[in-house]
Amino acid sequence: MEGAVEKLLFMCAMVSILTIIFISIFIFMAGIPLFEEVSIIEFLFSDRWRPTDNQNPGFGILAFIVASILVTAGALVIGVPIGLATAIHLAEIAGERSSRFLKSVVEILAGIPSVVYGFFGTVLLAPINRMIFGGTGFNILTASIILAIMILPTVISLSEVSIKSVSKDLKAASLALGASHWQTIIRVILPAASSGIITAVVLGTGRAVGETMAVLMVAGNAAMMPEAVTSMVRTLTMSIAGDMGYAAGIHRTALFATSIVLFLFVMALNVFIKIITRKGRI
């Protein structure tokens, strides 16, 4: 009896890892056939995306990769400083009450559905952007701001935990040596918490790269190489979600191949986190 139960529980615990294995098997099986027709080099390094052109189709996703990188970088540039500063405020400065309040704010931010963020961007941020920069207002900048808001909870809560878990002795020692509170934060606490903070930023990156609905609604969806922060762009996720509804044949295969790129990137981030946290422990 006990043995059987343990086996059953083990099976349940295996579901996560099995899911990941199945996900990789399925999307690789669905996407790899593309490379019988298009070379990997062309797929990754050409920006010619004409999947429905019968005479001369193009399956280059470089523009989408660049767009994903730019939008994510923008989100990190805006979101990480604000998130990190909020986390320091939460862990080191805010009183019990205001910190509890701020924490529930972060929790609610984390809970808001991405389609609501996208809608908010559509009805408020894009029009403001349009007023300032002209054009449609649906561009890299709007997408980056929305993504920055969306990664805030990840960055804040993980950074806060790692800042709080820095040994009190370190802080006390620094203060005893005459360092001010701020000097202690910058020179002692943050370096000690760095592996946790890096993990937070990397997880935020993963969230930003993989986010679909919000960017789909605000980034403009133009399959072209971006030229400025006010360019309308299409990211990897947008390309998949936008075309999947009607794509067939090799076009659909190309979308699965796009998802392989996305999947490998996210997996690489996870392995990176694993390495970072292991180093942090030692």
Partner: protein, 554 residues
């Protein structure tokens, strides 16, 4: 100097420049942190505040071809005995119609109230014969009168009122003399907006790339009061404004003046009098910069160039009907009741699948697993699964359930996909909860002779219930907000799901479709409001549960 005095007072001795610099840096830095925290909070308040506000109150500026205000009494010529009032069943929320809407309601082009009052009720038309019908036809139909085939002919005002009051979705007309009979019946009179403003075509031509797109009611009022003398003052072409009004005593003139001006109207000196619509048409053609009012149906007959008139409509957006009624016409009319039910089905099924698996996995990881490589791999799996983008889950679900297993795009495929997605949330929260159960409880149970499994089922899991519940509720939050994974697995049929295989639209997908297809931003705001309320509720409940957990285990 003043600052120095202060520091001396506070510290009792002068601070060195270096200390002062450090203090300044300290204050600046903390202020920056405080501002960052403020931005985080401000962002949340703006998002929630804006969506809830627009979700509850719709404040639209809509351009019509008729004046913003209507009149209850319809008449065409002076010498008719009976003026006409259009009445509707009391369940209809509309209180006013444009003349075009009246025409289309009676000739059958509009067969559902959805387009007018957003109610999914079919239109039923009641008519009566005699003089009043001829008069009604002349007022309402610009060309050949034609009533909808299903129209029922009743006999006299009293029977019309009786039929309209007792038939859902019905509309009819009675003579104005009997309008008092409507009180205490389930019916009401409708205001009809039917005065348009026509101009010389040159007023509407673009100048310097800018076109006069519409006028507001206030601007029209001021034009006819003579306060504007040139169209350039209104952003249109440089033309003098020439006003045309109908002769004194004509119906259209008295209606125009009564709906637009509160006090007595005095003609400005740039006004000319015309006798009838055909004279007005001539006046409008001959004078560049001419403007005049006219009944909309006459404007159609004489092919006049009309100006759009903007009207601000403020009303309750998210009302009980929106939650209770079923959607129709891709969500243009009706409510979202079936979509809410579909969402509940999905949550229920997902929890039924993911709950037991997740809790069992957590029990294994905390109570049974040895600290070895296998355990580390399992943990890595859970963490990685949490980081996989939802669109990839969507593709995975699509390939596995729709392409290979061939169970189609529907409730079951969507639910299974979501199950994999929310597992990590449940596993992690349950793990934390089970870990926080004091070791002493396990030991006492084992000491009393219980087996490990008995201890887990009877002692550990019950003690961890609040934490497990927190995980389940967080998982609900994640499932409710998920869109990308459901687009290609669960489908977007807004009707109630009939079985596990039927395509079903959930709230988040509905919001996306409303925005993507430009169906209605107002409805998108209302749907977004419901989503946010659910998230706030979930946050409230989890905080309560966590509070209880902290009290239980210290």
């Amino acid at each position: 100097m003043k600052q120095d005095e202060n520091t001396v007072k506070r510290g009792g001795f002068a601070l060195s420049p270096h200390t002062r610099k450090v203090r300044l840096a300290e204050t600046t830095a903390k202020l920056t942190l405080w501002i960052a925290a403020g931005i985080t909070m401000g962002t949340l308040f703006i998002i929630i505040g804006y969506i809830l506000f627009r979700g509850f109150v719709s404040d639209l500026r809509i351009q019509h071809e008729v004046l913003p205000v209507g009149s209850k009494v319809l008449a065409y010529e002076q010498n008719v005995k009976d003026d006409i009032v259009v009445i509707a069943n009391g369940d209809i929320r509309a209180t006013e119609l444009t003349i075009t809407e009246v025409t289309e309601l009676f000739n059958g082009e509009i067969d559902n109230w959805g387009e007018i009052s957003e109610q999914d009720i079919d239109v039923r038309v009641f008519l009566q014969d005699g003089n009043i019908r001829e008069e009604f036809e002349r007022v309402v139909f610009p060309d050949t009168p034609q009533f909808v085939e299903t129209a029922v002919v009743a006999d006299g005002d009293i029977q019309i009122i009786d039929s309209v009051a007792n038939t859902r979705g019905s509309i009819g007309f009675i003579s104005a003399a009997n309008v008092e009979l409507l009180s205490n019946t389930n019916s009401h009179a409708l205001y009809v907006r039917r005065i348009s403003v026509a101009v010389n075509i040159e007023v509407l031509n673009p100048t310097n790339g800018i076109r006069l797109r519409y006028l507001t009611g206030e601007q029209i009022e001021n034009i006819f009061l003579g306060k504007y003398r040139n169209w350039s003052e209104l952003g249109a072409a440089d033309l003098p404004i020439e006003i045309a009004v109908f002769s004194e005593g004509s119906l259209v003139r008295s209606e125009f003046e009564s709906v637009l001006f509160k006090s007595e109207y005095i003609l400005p000196d740039n006004a000319s009098v015309v006798a009838n619509p055909s004279e007005l048409a001539q006046f409008l053609v001959q004078n560049p910069g001419a403007i005049g009012y006219v009944y909309y149906n006459d404007a159609i007959v004489y092919d006049l160039s009309l100006v759009y008139i903007e009207r601000r409509e403020t009303q309750l957006n998210l009302d009980p009907a929106f939650i209770l009624e079923a959607p129709r016409r891709a969500g243009r009319v009706g409510g979202i009741s079936t979509i809410i039910l579909n969402t509940l089905f999905m949550i229920f099924l997902t929890l039924l699948l993911a709950g037991p698996i997740g809790v069992a996995a957590a029990v294994y990881l905390t109570e049974y697993a040895k600290q070895n490589r296998m355990n580390e791999i399992l943990r890595f799996g859970t963490e990685t699964l949490a980081g996989i983008p939802s669109i990839i889950f969507g593709l995975f679900g699509f390939i596995l359930f729709v392409m290979y297993l061939d169970i189609g795009v529907g409730l079951l495929s969507g639910t299974l996909t979501i199950t994999f997605m929310i597992l990590p949330t449940i596993i992690r929260a349950s793990e934390e909860a089970i870990k926080s159960v004091p070791q002493a409880m396990r030991e006492s149970s084992l000491a009393l002779g219980a087996t490990k499994w008995q201890t887990v089922v009877r002692v550990v899991v019950p003690a961890a219930i609040p934490g497990i519940m927190t995980g389940l509720i967080l998982a609900i939050g994640r499932a409710v907000g998920e869109t990308a994974a459901l687009l290609f697995t669960m489908g977007s049929d807004y009707r109630l799901a009939r079985d596990f295989l039927s395509s079903a639209r959930v709230l988040s997908v509905h919001l996306y479709i409303l925005v993507r297809e430009g169906i209605s931003f107002e409805r998108a705001f209302a749907t977004g409001t419901i989503l946010i309320i659910i998230i706030l509720l979930i946050n409230f409940v989890t905080n309560k549960l966590i509070g209880r957990m902290v009290r239980m285990h210290g």
